[in-house]
């Protein structure tokens, strides 16, 4: 309000466009400004998820007449639980690792001077790496005959199946690597703006390093850590290319299963692909809502 009055006075004094400028802050102009962004998001999400739901229920068939059915869901249900379990395992393990390493990196970047620059540059350097490139490189690192097996001198046939094996080790490592840099970036940003003055106050009041970590740094880092972890979780849950490239053919996580059915030459597989996509969306939405609830309850948020 204060800004608006001052702005009005200023424009009157400079003698131009007082009317248009006053209208600038009017709520209709403000609401109009969000229309392009909101319209694009609503169209893509609404049409995309709406069409996925309709196709999964047989209401938007590629050929023939629309007929309401839940058969696609029943067709995939035996594999759905396994795929969902694997997806949740990948997402949980990746998020946990990324949060741990990311938080440690952030604490190190905020807390000490030595080696800070090198670490900051390295953590930032992995931000622009596309996940697909990260996956290709982790493959060259961890596969049998990969860099680590060569450096350790382990012959290819006795090397554990980290890539495309029973457990999604390489998949989790790629996600944890990329997303730990993301977590570090977000948490560092939230700490550098406020933590320094609070830490100084706590130190002046006689708080030791552990007390400062427990009562100042961690509570301040909490909301951004939860937000970054939640984004990491839903991203890894719904991401395709890393698990496709580094995971086993079976078991497969939800996105890989869905895309395989989507590209199947069997036309009845299309509604099944959509059923898996709808279930993945529901799972991601539940996680997002839970994370928002958690964030709202955290004291330092906003």
């Amino acid at each position: 309000m204060g800004a608006r009055t001052r702005r009005g006075m200023a424009t009157t004094r400079s003698g131009r466009g007082a009317v248009t400028r006053a209208a600038d802050t009017h709520s209709r102009r403000g609401s109009l400004a969000v229309v392009p962004a909101v319209a694009a998001v609503l169209f893509v999400l609404g049409a995309g998820l709406g069409a996925a739901l309709l196709q999964s229920l047989g209401l938007m068939p590629l050929v023939g007449d629309p007929r309401l059915t839940i058969a696609p869901y029943l067709d995939v249900r035996t594999y759905l639980f396994g795929a969902a379990g694997l997806s949740l395992l990948i997402a949980s393990a990746s998020t946990l690792l990324a949060a741990l390493v990311g938080l440690t990196t952030a604490l190190h970047l905020v807390g000490s001077r030595r080696g800070q620059r090198v670490l900051a540059v390295l953590a930032t350097a992995s931000i622009p790496v596309p996940h697909l490139v990260g996956a290709a490189s982790v493959g060259l690192l961890l596969a049998d005959g990969g860099l680590i097996s060569r450096w350790l001198g382990v012959p290819a046939d006795s090397w554990p199946a980290l890539v495309a094996g029973r457990w999604p080790v390489a998949v989790v490592i790629e996600y944890a690597w990329k997303e730990s840099a993301f977590v570090a970036l977000v948490v560092t940003a939230s700490l550098t703006t406020r933590a320094v003055s609070y830490l100084e106050t706590a130190a002046l009041l006689g708080a030791g390093p552990w007390a400062r970590l427990r009562h100042v740094t961690l509570p301040l880092a909490g909301p951004s850590l939860v937000a970054a972890s939640a984004i990491t979780f839903v991203y890894t849950l719904g991401s395709y290319e890393v698990a496709w490239l580094l995971g086993a053919a079976y078991p497969e996580p939800l996105p890989v299963m869905s895309y395989r059915l989507f590209t199947s030459t069997d036309l009845t597989a299309r509604p099944q692909a959509m059923a898996v996509a709808v279930m993945t969306t529901a799972l991601a939405a539940m996680v997002a809502v839970a994370a928002l609830g958690l964030l709202r309850r955290m004291a330092a948020w906003r």
Partner: protein, 282 residues
């Protein structure tokens, strides 16, 4: 008590450096390897032939296509997000929480599900594949540009504009000399993130493009899913790393150059930091 803590700190820092650096090492070694037998720790013969092979596989045109896609996403998503962010920051939007939730939603929902469903709609609308890809990627980038610009506008003090106007500056002069320099760090970050969304995408390009719109990630994927062509995979991957790394460096340099005067204005904050980092205070 101080010694072990410092040792632990050093060991942790060492681990973190190894953690962030190691996954990129194979790319450098394989891209320069001409001969690398199964047991050797390092390539026996070095050459840059892999880059020539990669160029021969049509990566030149794919590089241009990816650059165009990333640039187009940045050009569309940055101003659109900034416009919405400005309205949200000024509190001139009805139902601001709902609007913010809608604009952040693309981050929470799996993009493969959205794009697989949308594909039928795009086909029925007879939209060319590149337009459809661009549309989905702009929506995928909007949460980032909106959020970054929302923070930038939140820290932006409109009183500077009033000051300039009081001194007789025209609206254009205010926009060019006051608003743009103050918001430029945010604009640089938002533009970089939007470019990255377009540059890195694989699944949207794959589903909407049907494999016929070949970008750099599509080339990397097809090379990496085969076997025995590690040097080509590495060379293509390095090609995929150079433009976004340059963009990140440019954005960081721009941010540093532009925030320097602002730092001078916040002199007391810097003094705080210097004090906190002295051994006596810590």
């Amino acid at each position: 008590m101080r010694r072990p803590a410092q040792l632990l700190r050093g060991a942790l820092a060492g681990f973190l450096v190894v953690w962030f650096l190691t996954p990129l090492i194979p790319l450098v070694l394989w891209a320069g390897a001409e001969g690398w037998s199964g047991v050797a720790r390092l390539p026996e013969r070095w050459s840059l032939d892999a880059f020539l092979t990669a160029l021969g596989e049509g990566s030149g045109i794919a590089l241009l296509r990816s650059l165009a896609l990333g640039t187009a996403v940045a050009i569309l998503a940055t101003p659109t997000g900034a416009l919405a962010a400005r309205a949200l920051a000024r509190g001139t939007v009805r139902r601001p929480r709902l609007v913010a939730a809608v604009l952040l939603a693309p981050v929470a929902l799996p993009v493969f599900a959205v794009v697989m469903g949308l594909n039928v709609v795009l086909l029925r609308l007879h939209l060319p594949a590149p337009i459809g890809i661009l549309l989905v990627l702009v929506v995928a980038a909007l949460p980032y540009t909106t959020y970054v610009m929302r923070v930038a506008y939140g820290a932006y003090d409109v009183a500077y504009e009033d000051e300039a106007r009081t001194l007789g500056a025209s609206p254009w002069a205010v926009a060019w000399w006051v608003r743009l320099p103050l918001l430029a760090p945010g604009v640089a970050s938002a533009t970089f993130l939007a470019f990255l969304v377009g540059w890195s995408d694989y699944i949207v390009t794959l589903v909407v493009g049907g494999g016929r719109f070949v970008t750099v990630p599509v080339l990397v994927a097809s090379a990496a899913s085969g076997t025995g062509n590690e040097p080509t995979v590495a060379a293509l991957s390095i090609g995929a790393l150079v433009p976004p790394t340059l963009a990140l460096t440019a954005a960081a340099l721009l941010r540093r150059r532009l925030t320097r005067p602002a730092v001078r204005l916040r002199e007391p904050a810097r003094a705080d930091r210097a004090l906190a980092s002295t051994p006596g205070a810590a």
